[in-house]
Symmetry: C4
Subunit: 127 residues, 4 copies
């Protein structure tokens, strides 16, 4: 239960895609992409997400706070300011924080009756 802030200040996720449809009860079974953020330190983490696209300039920053000693599982579906993340569109993301955090990427795809799941650690940028 160390208060040390573990991880890196910048993380990259090249894969992003919110499936255009879902089956099953919302919101648990809604198709979604999630960035799981963990802040193990004693100071709140002020996080900014920038979204990159195939054919236009990046959008952001999307501002989030991960309180000290807390995890935030942020659905990209729920990012709306400055603008919603489009569905059925390839995107990528860079996640920056003022203190070290750790970031993991997960997608649940329920376009078909049986869900698909994928996950990976985001790519940490060395300090």
């Amino acid at each position: 239960m160390t208060p040390e802030a573990l991880g890196s200040r910048r993380w990259v996720i090249p894969e992003g895609y919110i499936p255009p449809g879902s089956t099953g009860p919302a919101p648990q079974m809604s198709s979604h992409e999630t960035a799981c953020l963990l802040n193990t330190g004693d100071a709140d983490a002020h996080v900014e997400i920038t979204i990159y696209f195939a054919d236009r300039e990046p959008v952001g920053p999307y501002a989030l706070t991960v309180p000290a000693r807390r995890t935030l599982h942020q659905r990209f579906n729920d990012l709306i300011d400055p603008e919603p993340v489009p569905h059925d569109t390839d995107y990528a993301s860079v996640i920056s924080s003022d203190v070290p955090i750790v970031v993991q990427h997960t997608r649940l795809d329920s376009r078909q009756a049986e869900l698909g799941l994928l996950t990976t650690m985001a790519h940490p940028i060395p300090e």
Copy 2:
């Protein structure tokens, strides 16, 4: 068959979620989250897991031993002391060991008839 202890002493898994239901025969097909720990060294690994939440203070440590030259595939579902890990709740974990180990994270989701699987290496903290 080297006796050298490979890996790192601290690992982070930001994603944690035990699905609230299962289909199929237990325990093989029960929805579960697992931390796969490998201790390649000649000394037992004394491991402590701390669980982080979105809205309350971390819980732990959960104490485990991975004997020398053994692997332990520990289901988070089975962690009960100091308290069970809640289902249908976002969490994250930090895994600390007194000797280097390697940690991989896996989830089997059998809420629907056909299982979903995900895995990733945990994020190692450099010594």
Copy 3:
């Protein structure tokens, strides 16, 4: 929204396999392997992919451009010059760029009615 080029100039993906069949509407649900490339920098990335096989010499380079501040989710199915990537065949890939990028690997397998998904970061080669 930093213009800094993040990542590494070389990435490795040992796993490659384009399933021989699909179910569901094309192209979204076609079985495919994808390399998700993100170029966060202000200069276009000139990328070369080399494909390795089990039983013959490597093929390539396949040339791609990822424009500045853009992501490209490139299906291996769509690589045709110098030759198409064969289906139902084990392969591997090395991705080289003249500027740092980040690479993530994804497969959608729709041979059966319900899709299978997998992803991982490619393995970065330190500069």
Copy 4:
């Protein structure tokens, strides 16, 4: 198409489990665990795999060769010397090579009618 040997000489995979059953046509749809090995260099890679268990001493080495500039997608199901890898049993593996290689881990689980897939890079041990 560089002849440089990329990667690391040792890799660790804490997760290992060959499901006890399959559905669908063999061998493509048989439940299996695979280590995908890529040798980008100009010298053959002589590889040794050691298998670790929960409750007995490690077994190995299993000897493989990955020829120069080739990939080998080795199913753990097919490792038989010094002894077959048991099914329905937790295991882990360490993969050692005399030259740098890159290793990725994949499982296809076809116990149920629709397949489950997972993958991750193995954990590289720094030289």
